[in-house]
């Protein structure tokens, strides 16, 4: 029996800690949100019903539970506003991630091939802008892109354009802001996989008759796929829930789901619908995470 007890007591506590963290700071709040999503809106404090009486005994609890309804989920599935918001969010996340990958891969590749002492400096250059507050940087973009902003002034001075171009409040401005903000999240995992790649593999490929370009496709790209997956997920998931960048840089005609949620919560004071939006978004974003998990587990099994 004794030999089966692998973990000492401190080790067991350490192993429990992350689960405790997850329960306290994710599962319990998520339980609240889920509960509110099953409630209905009222003008009251708090602005939803039922409020569960956890200390009123079994009957009181059952009476409360009986009032739960899935009406809000039905609403989300049938109302265009929500469906289009979700679609817009997923589209924006997908397009942004694709752009980030196309720009990020060559940059990460170039960084990984720098001499060792330059790699740290290149890494600094990627990360340094993030020492400034995110909001300030987005406002800086507003400054650059607005009607009489830096970009228009420059282009007018160079006679490239004759009158100011409306850059701000467009999808392009939003994509620019997203790509700019999430760049390091794409670069860092890509750089990590590319820089630890064994250069003798490329020599072996060359030795076996492979030109450099072909070796890149046949060796470098497949071996960097875990980094691609990690970078894509690190970008895709938060971008899908992004609120600030589309709110500040994009036009107001189409909303991402984060904006819709904000609207429901603060403008309409409809907590149950806002909570329902959050629950559905979480479920939607769980799908790519599970796929990634699956891939990683398969790699671990092989390794």
């Amino acid at each position: 029996m004794k030999s089966r007890r692998i973990f000492t007591r401190p080790a067991r506590i350490a192993a429990i800690a992350p689960y405790l963290w997850m329960v306290l700071f994710f599962l319990v709040p998520f339980g609240f949100v889920l509960k509110i999503s099953l409630s209905e809106t009222v003008i009251a404090q708090p602005p939803y019903l039922p409020t569960l009486d956890l200390f009123g005994g079994w009957d009181a609890l059952r009476a409360g539970l009986a009032k739960f309804s899935t009406d809000n989920f039905y609403l989300l599935a049938t109302d265009d506003i929500y469906i289009f918001s979700y679609l817009r969010s997923l589209t924006v996340a997908l397009v942004s991630t694709a752009i980030l990958l196309v720009i990020g891969y060559p940059v990460a590749y170039a960084m990984a091939r720098l001499p060792q002492r330059w790699q740290g400096i290149a890494m600094m250059l990627v990360v340094v802008p993030f020492w400034t507050s995110f909001l300030i940087r987005i406002y800086a973009w507003i400054n650059i892109l607005q009607h009489d902003g830096l970009l228009n002034s420059l282009l007018l001075a160079l006679h490239v354009i004759e009158r100011p171009v409306p850059w701000l409040s467009t999808d392009s401005a939003m994509y620019l802001g997203i790509v700019y903000s999430y760049f390091p999240f794409m670069i860092l995992p890509l750089f990590a996989t590319l820089s630890k790649m064994d250069s003798s593999l490329l020599e072996a490929a060359a030795d076996l008759g492979c030109s450099r370009l072909k070796a890149f496709w046949l060796i470098t790209v497949p071996l960097s796929l875990p980094g691609v997956a990690a970078g894509a997920l690190l970008c895709f998931i938060p971008i899908a829930g992004e609120f600030v960048i589309p709110d500040l840089l994009a036009g107001s005609d189409r909303m991402m789901i984060g904006q819709t949620l904000w609207l429901e919560f603060f403008t309409n004071r409809d907590w149950p619908v806002a909570s329902t939006i959050a629950v559905v978004l979480l479920v939607l974003l769980l799908a790519p995470l599970l796929v990634y998990e699956h891939i990683q587990r398969k790699q671990l099994e092989q390794g």
């Binding site: 064994d198 490929a205 030795d207 008759g209």
Partner: protein
């Protein structure tokens, strides 16, 4: 996008294939390309026949510097068809750099490398009919055993069914049947080593380069693999150049050994000649153990010289060096005999005292302090019915026959 990349590279691959086929045609022993491409490995002519033909590779005054460091310094060498050649030297002697120049990963700063009469010094690695087996094997981790072996064949544009046949043949050659679909990280070190060998051999290169191929294996597996390497090389009749720092490995494997030191090729000889007739004191000490006696030639004649040494008095040794020159007498530990009294052929006999005796299983190694003060090493086989072993503290006579020593002038 992969398809685009392939199209881009079609011409260079075609060139590579043509070069490969061209050189195959040039020195084809029998049957021609068709046989070679379709059938199994055809019988190769004997060694004698091969060694008479023109050399497969000629390396002429090749030099390579890295900044101020001279890695390879004016190396000239010829490698015969079907020869197993070993580059032996301590780490940092330039042997790996030389090998990498033969593979095309480094370009020589000076000199030329001819393969079948073509100067390939500036030909990039993917267009050379030469393959290399890497020290860390450099197997592609995302490809199976089959995928790794087929990699070079796909690059050469070989038809699918022929690739399958060749891969099966290679798998059988290195005895990896049943493991075709495994990934490299699901294999043992020895199995990985064989995949690397099969992958490098699959294209049937004119010349296979092996960079410390057995360094990662344990001693027993290494001995087995050495025997397999020699067998594969004989069977395929390819030329092999192996880089190693292990002199025993070089001697086991190679027809000839080139010893490198500080970027220079200091001696090229068959294993036996290298051991028995080293050119310099450094080589004598690097290849095996040796006892050195510094001295001056007193006289010479009849193929013998008499050398006055500080350590062992006047020694008579086979050789021809003019009187007055400073020389060094080199005697291998196993060429020294120990006896209790005066030995029957008391040539070069010196009294001494046994300092210690190390029993090594098959051998016993003695350290004997000579009357002059120098300590020599003596190795005796622990043969059946062996005479009384010598113990520490015993007075003995150390002697060697004049033919068993070498006179070194460098």
């Amino acid at each position: 996008m992969v398809a685009v990349a392939r199209l881009d590279n079609a011409p260079s691959d075609a060139k590579s294939m043509a070069f490969w086929l061209g050189t195959r045609l040039h020195n084809e022993p029998s049957g021609g390309v068709r046989d070679q491409m379709q059938g199994g490995f055809s019988a190769q002519p004997g060694h004698a026949e091969r060694s008479q033909s023109a050399p497969l590779m000629r390396i002429e005054s090749v030099g390579k510097r890295f900044g101020g460091f001279v890695a390879v310094d004016g190396v000239s060498l010829e490698i015969g068809v079907g020869e197993f050649f070993a580059l032996l030297g301590p780490s940092g002697c330039g042997k790996t750099t030389l090998l990498r120049m033969l593979a095309g990963f480094e370009t020589p700063d000076e000199g030329g490398i001819w393969l079948d009469g073509k100067n390939i010094a500036d030909v990039p690695p993917h267009l050379r009919p030469v393959n290399m087996m890497f020290q860390n094997y450099a197997l592609f981790p995302h490809l199976s055993v089959e995928g790794n072996i087929a990699f070079g064949l796909k690059q050469a544009g070989m038809p699918k069914d022929e690739i399958a046949a060749r891969v099966a043949e290679m798998v059988a050659l290195v005895r990896l049947q049943g493991l075709e679909r495994r990934k490299p990280d699901q294999l043992s070190g020895g199995q990985r080593q064989r995949v690397a060998l099969a992958r490098a051999l699959a294209r049937r290169p004119r010349l296979l380069l092996l960079d410390e191929p057995l360094a990662a294996l344990d001693k027993k597996l290494r001995a087995e693999t050495q025997a397999e390497l020699v067998e594969v090389q004989r069977r395929l009749g390819m030329s092999f150049i192996i880089v190693t720092h292990d002199q025993e490995e070089a001697m086991t494997l190679a027809d000839r050994i080139g010893v490198m030191n500080k970027g220079q090729l200091v001696q090229v000889a068959a294993p036996r000649a290298l051991y028995e007739q080293p050119d310099t004191r450094w080589i004598a000490g690097f290849v095996g153990d040796i006892n050195l006696f510094e001295g001056q030639v007193m006289s010479q004649g009849d193929g013998f010289v008499s050398v006055a040494t500080q350590a062992a008095g006047l020694l008579r040794v086979a050789g021809g060096v003019e009187a007055g020159k400073s020389v060094c007498i080199a005697v291998r530990p196993e060429k020294l005999s120990l006896s209790h009294g005066l030995s029957s052929h008391d040539n070069n006999a010196q009294p001494g005292e046994v300092l210690d005796a190390d029993y090594l299983g098959g051998l016993t190694r003695y350290r004997v302090k000579l009357a002059g003060g120098d300590v020599v090493q003596v190795v005796r086989a622990n043969a059946a019915g062996n005479d009384i072993p010598f113990a520490a503290g015993q007075q003995v006579m150390v002697s060697f026959a004049p033919e068993d020593a070498v006179v070194l002038t460098q």
